[in-house]
Symmetry: C2
Subunit: 571 residues, 2 copies
Amino acid sequence: MRVSKLLGQRFKNPPSDCVIESHALMARGGYMKYMANGIYSLYMPGRRIVRKIEAIIRDEMDRADGQEVLFPVAMPASLWEESGRYESIGSELARWTDRSGNKMVLGMTHEEAAVHLARDTAVSYADYPFMIYQIQTKFRDEPRARGGLIRVREFTMKDAYSFHTSMEDLERYYAIQFKAYENIFRRAGAKNVISVKSDSGMMGGAVSHEFMLLSEIGEDTLAICPECGYSANMEAAEVRIENERVPSEPLEKVATPGKGTIEAVSEFLGSDVKRSCKAVVFQKNADDSYVVVYIRGDLDVNETKPRNYLGFEIHPAVITEESGIVAGYIGPVGGPAVRTVFDNSLKGIGNLVCGANEKDFHFKGLDLDRDVKDAEYADVAKIFEGAVCPGCGKPVITIKKGIEIGNIFQLGTKYTKAMNMTYLDADGEAKYPIMGCYGIGLGRLAASICQESHDDYGPIWPMSIAPWQVEVCNLRCDDPAVNATAEKLYADLEALGVEVLYDDRDIRPGAMFADADLFGIPIRAVVSPKTEERGVIEVSYRDKSFRGDVEKPGAAEAIRDMVAEELKKYE
Amino acid sequence: MRVSKLLGQRFKNPPSDCVIESHALMARGGYMKYMANGIYSLYMPGRRIVRKIEAIIRDEMDRADGQEVLFPVAMPASLWEESGRYESIGSELARWTDRSGNKMVLGMTHEEAAVHLARDTAVSYADYPFMIYQIQTKFRDEPRARGGLIRVREFTMKDAYSFHTSMEDLERYYAIQFKAYENIFRRAGAKNVISVKSDSGMMGGAVSHEFMLLSEIGEDTLAICPECGYSANMEAAEVRIENERVPSEPLEKVATPGKGTIEAVSEFLGSDVKRSCKAVVFQKNADDSYVVVYIRGDLDVNETKPRNYLGFEIHPAVITEESGIVAGYIGPVGGPAVRTVFDNSLKGIGNLVCGANEKDFHFKGLDLDRDVKDAEYADVAKIFEGAVCPGCGKPVITIKKGIEIGNIFQLGTKYTKAMNMTYLDADGEAKYPIMGCYGIGLGRLAASICQESHDDYGPIWPMSIAPWQVEVCNLRCDDPAVNATAEKLYADLEALGVEVLYDDRDIRPGAMFADADLFGIPIRAVVSPKTEERGVIEVSYRDKSFRGDVEKPGAAEAIRDMVAEELKKYE
């Protein structure tokens, strides 16, 4: 490809909405163009990167016995009504009406479509297991599109669905997918990727993992143990608290005028915040009824945990005068008669300070085992730096940020049951197949790799996904000798099957090199009057790991071998 | 791929909505599954066929200097307002509103997106010409989805857009695309494909061609000259009528009681239908105002022609009492004071019968040159079997049906002007680039080839797009020797890079062969106790052109060579 004919401009200043480097570089480098909030077109370099990622993913899915299929983008709402998600998913599901008045949706994930494709067909246990996947456009009406291709509304995704007749078989296959994901990220050149246990959220199911590319710009917070390798999304990271048991004292109401926060009251009473029982109030989305969560005063609630534990959506409460809740002075003794959950951090701890459900009064000496009957305990705490690792028990948890670049779920029978998909088992009984699902966003992976692998001047694409493998820079197309050498090198490399971007423009070397940095092609071959004089081609690697001359005779073959050597790193 | 694990069933009776063979066979063969009107999922065999077509198209587009890009499926309505198509296109454009209340559309074609991608970038004449293309999902809310993948609402399409600085350059490139299209259809194995001049319709522009696969189930009617090769879509086929001049007679009103049709009045008056002036009435969509088209009594109006000539949408009229139009007795003398067009077939013809705009009365002796001032003539007639060929002038036009499997348009500056895309020309002036666009529907092409190439038992896929190249049938998997030979052949062929579907099921040979016919794989290799006894593999071609034994030693290599030989036909 000749740069003179390549559509897309490189420019110096990023668009004002670019707050992260990969977004700025991919906008400045002519990879993509903004069309609307979270909606982009891709220029040729961007499209080529995504196609290469696509090829890697397809290869790994085929190796994992996947059958490539295609589901529709536009689906009838009736299918989503069957699964219940037409109601349960909010406005991120794009809904519309076709010309005949039928309710339609745009696919943001395809569990329903997968069940629809399989349910009349995989009717005997002998038809199982199988996995189907597609690589297709999806639309999710994200409220907070950001970071260029990191979080968009329209995206290309690989989504795979496996069907099994036993949990054991799902677990066996889940491990195969897990390995396939590791392969995909390694082959695409993503370096700092870890898998974490995750919250399954709206997908349903029990076990799930997210693959996280560690990055300061990540939106996900991860709990990682440097000792044993444990890692989990903060929402799924179990918090283990060991409390010192202290002798019980009698429950005593004390005046705490104006001390409406745990910190204030602890200071006022001269007690440790760790010896207090804090109330955090939520409301159920469906009916605004209140839910009170109690937790040890020094800890915070991770909102996703009570949501999953309770099994319904909640939001931070607005406490009104009519609610009967005394904000700032809530406590479990004589507290509001609403659904109540105690965090595990309050287990086996005596002698606590808590609200007395009366303005300006607290209790001292709370002993939950003694004072609260049938308290319901759960893990709803937010994990923190230095927390006890649920894996090895050492207090060494570190908190990092990550970009979610893939996820795998053990869905179970959530969709097959809801949509009445059954098969006849060997014992003659009709049973629901057990599903797993496995997703990767292609554009996000491309952008994440750019985020991980760049310098101030542009992306440093791994050879396996680079838009082209080699860039030939012709520094003097007006010099017949230089021009002839560059043109020949371009033609020779292409004849050898090397993917070449050829900068044939009559521009200053500085401008050409600035563009080359933005193209981020792993190997650069420069032809100039100086190299011509020396009878060589100057070769340099974008990652600065090599710079040197190769003799003109056989230069194309030498460069092809360098490409092959680089590619090996991503096998 | 083992058939035992392949998702999708083959069955005997087509779904009741299948009215054409390719639809029935692709449904019965487990290629696709109906989800909603005009919306299908594809099983693995269907997906593989489409992917092979995709690869052929991509190769031809790349050879034609195409840059592969990607446009969004979901686009802001504002972009379509710029071009004017948000208003001008009817309900086939799917419109919806996103969570923030922004008006959105689903892409049914991407001229607007192409201009959006290029307009800030291709700013100098030196950046031209260039071509960008994508292969992407589109949605068109067809009122009459039919024929399985022949006419759907959601489809995968290759759409390409070229930009030029002169009409000459567009024409030069248009010829390259024309050739690329011929290559694509030949390589995909479509046999009876012709190109016809077409009506540009809503795309705008002057010159356009459709590629038609001739088929009785086609929705398009084509005028073809067997003598000179002229061909055109009926809507674009020029009708040339040579009239015999006869001496004029005076205009005379005659009573024609109850003779409200041209046939009836001609019979009543004993005159030739060819010597009558028939009125066909339309209404303008926008305001329901009337348009009267006069044409020679033996001819019909092709509705698209007056629509294009007038430049606005029309529909057949509903004539009411208040309209002032006397249905059945309309004529150009003292006729309704509405927009009036005369077909060229009425030129130079004297002595006609026509309506007298009064119930039960006609005129005889109409001479348009004498009796109607400033008559506006245009070609609005529907071409017919035996019409004069506009190419060679011989009266030998034949009418055939075709399926449109591709189209190419010279768009001109319609979109660049509307969306204000300019470049700076060598002379320093800002100018609008000239566009061409080039589309192919991938699923429709697959279904059309199936329609053209099948027998009563299933599709006969060309080797170049067959879902697999070879099917190995293991007729007795319970016979250890047969089973070992079949498994080895499967493994050997795969090791040689041959695409194999392996039927490893324990079913009756009749059922296996019935399925094999539905898979339509070009080469079949059968292993049975009989072949085992003879020490051979039985090979047969799906198109019945060959059947014979190959020796077991070297069988895989022999079959691989057969595949290669077949593939050569589609190079």
